[in-house]
């Protein structure tokens, strides 16, 4: 029963920088986590050593470098914790618990010829690492990425560098095409259909706001392409103790899943997306 595969480590801050628009990125030295992490996993971070804010904050691993022992998180400021994180200084240590969540293992891309990634806003963060890993395996990868406006988009250069096809859109048209991720996904699905790839050799994964996930779930319902979604929910522990992060299961027998341990990645058809 005792596996000790999750660690709480004092991680040294290597750098914190402001990226394009509203995004920030921190690189942390945490070799124990870097060597264990899978794409789509996350960490639970103690923003500062005080009783307020009390809870840790969950962030996806947007990149990991096991060779040098670093992990990367990318975020936008939405409240107190994310604001405090912008004040982190190089060489200070922050407590990082991880790697957490199911993530996706090597079998996720088994027999796959094409990976379709769909991201909204900060949902791009974990998608980046998955895209990089997919390209390393030689899987054809397309990213469909959108946000309300340009400043809410994260930098996609890392995926461009590894040869991922990128389609960007904003609702206000301030960058890329004007429209929603689903509009663009619909278009891309038509193009993919022309390639006549067996749906079994395709796989899609979405991460972003709940309404976006619900919309892409509808869109994919008409295809045979397996669709996975990565969810967020309010968390306390981040590793299965408190049952705080519940999301309703489609199967009434199952009741609820825990986003932190049963997820964050789920088959879209297994979970009930309730918009708050």
């Amino acid at each position: 029963m005792s596996q000790l595969d999750i660690l709480d480590v004092p991680a040294k801050v290597i750098s914190v920088d402001r990226r394009e628009g509203d995004a920030f990125r921190a690189i942390l030295y945490a070799p124990e986590i870097a060597s264990r992490a899978k794409p789509m996993q996350f960490i639970n971070v103690r923003v500062q050593e005080s009783l307020d804010p009390l809870l840790r904050r969950p962030f996806s691993l947007s990149d990991v470098n096991p060779h040098v022992g670093t992990i990367e998180i990318t975020w936008m400021v939405v409240g107190r914790g994310t604001k405090m994180m912008t004040q982190w200084k190089p060489n200070q240590t922050v407590h990082v618990l991880g790697p957490l969540g199911n993530g996706v293992g090597p079998d996720f891309l088994e027999n796959k010829r094409k990976l379709i990634l769909l991201a909204g806003g900060t949902g791009f963060a974990p998608i980046q690492l998955l895209g990089v890993r997919a390209r390393e395996k030689g899987v054809d990868t397309i990213l469909i990425y959108g946000a309300k406006s340009r400043h809410l988009l994260m930098n996609t250069d890392r995926l461009k560098e590894v040869g991922c096809k990128i389609c960007t859109c904003t609702e206000d048209g301030s960058y890329g095409s004007k429209g929603l991720v689903t509009d663009m996904a619909e278009l891309q699905l038509e193009l993919i259909a022309e390639e006549k790839i067996d749906p079994e050799n395709l796989v899609a994964l979405g991460c972003g706001p709940t309404p976006m996930l619900a919309a892409i779930e509808n869109l994919f319902a008409d295809t045979n392409i397996p669709l996975y979604i990565s969810l967020e929910s309010k968390m306390a522990c981040g590793y299965g103790l408190c049952q705080g992060c519940a999301v309703r299961a489609v199967d009434p027998q199952r009741g609820y899943y825990r986003v932190c341990t049963d997820g964050p990645v789920f088959l879209a058809k297994d979970v009930e997306l309730e918009s708050e």
């Binding site: 595969d5 306390a236 408190c242 609820y256």
Partner: protein
């Protein structure tokens, strides 16, 4: 130094216990920490039948506090006995099973099933859960009901019996006395304080279940006061909890009258908290010439 202490019919090797609801059944915690760090572990509130728990969101952070409305999500007592307790019993730590019933008969029935399970050291009767509609806290807010619920368990459970009290009452000592009169060998306190918050972005209550239970450092002064009062009114040991995050907090409870403390929210924030707190108590005692835990229990009482 020997940190062991008697908590009413059983001895714990150190006075730091895992509170109910924050360790599940130990499975997940064992991936990060060492269950042996605790003097005893209390498992999640267990009911006669499985419960899926409340509608999300179930968690909301407040200044130095945590509001939760989990709603006693658990697989039911039979599954706990066949599947979860044998796993947890691998560790050399006494197991306390926290139980919750909707009726007196249910309390008695759950206790009966657990009496036949070799892995259980003590029962903790939850008459204080603010997150369920029927039963729950209602049993712990009236001395007569508290007495009857305790008595129902006592009829089928011969071993150490802890009654967990709610702070959501005017006079907590009365509840403690009722529990002891009905056969409790220990009382634990406090369960969470009933609270709520509004999410002003959504213009809705922050929790799916509207109200929830407040825990963490924000409730500590209330908890210390409750321990102080209960220590004066009953002669059985008291397990104190509510916002214990450091060894200093733990000693505060002990000096107010707790024989041991339990950690809830602290474990969620820092999985290594039990180890740090046990080590801290140890060094404090050593450098202050204290040679037994019992010598400082309630030492601050005037």
């Amino acid at each position: 130094m020997d940190l062991s202490v008697d908590v009413g019919g059983f001895v714990v090797k150190n006075p730091v216990i895992a509170a109910s609801g924050v360790l599940g059944y130990g499975e997940e915690y064992a991936r990060v920490g060492n269950i042996d760090w605790f003097g005893a572990v209390t498992v999640k509130g267990t009911t006669l039948r499985p419960r899926h728990g409340n509608c999300p969101p179930r968690i909301w952070e407040t200044p130095s506090g945590l509001l939760n409305s989990i709603g006693l999500q658990n697989p039911g007592v039979d599954e706990v006995i066949t599947h979860y307790l044998p796993q947890l019993a691998q560790f050399d730590v006494p197991i306390i099973v926290n139980i919750s019933g909707e009726t007196y008969e249910e309390f008695q029935e759950i206790a009966k099933k657990l009496a036949d399970c070799p892995h259980v050291t003590a029962l903790e009767v939850n008459v204080s859960c603010p997150n369920v509609e029927s039963g729950g806290m209602a049993f712990g807010t009236d001395p007569g009901s508290c007495y009857r619920a305790t008595k129902a368990v006592r009829r089928s459970w011969p071993g150490p019996l802890i009654v967990k009290l709610t702070p959501n009452v005017t006079n907590i000592s009365e509840m403690a006395k009722a529990a002891v009169d009905a056969g409790a060998t220990c009382v634990s306190l406090i369960n969470t304080l009933l609270g709520m918050a509004i999410d002003i972005q959504n213009k809705r209550p922050a929790l799916g279940n509207i109200k929830g239970g407040l825990s963490g450092p924000a409730v500590k002064p209330v908890a210390v006061r409750c321990v102080w009062e209960v220590f004066q009114s009953v002669s059985v040991p008291v397990i104190g909890m509510g916002g214990v995050f450091s060894w200093e907090d733990a000693l505060e409870f002990i000096m107010a009258g707790a024989s041991a403390v339990a950690l809830g929210t602290a474990v969620l924030v820092d999985p290594y908290a039990p180890k740090k707190i046990v080590d801290g108590i140890q060094s404090y005692c050593e450098s202050n010439g204290i040679d037994s835990m019992s010598s400082i229990v309630g030492i601050a009482q005037v």
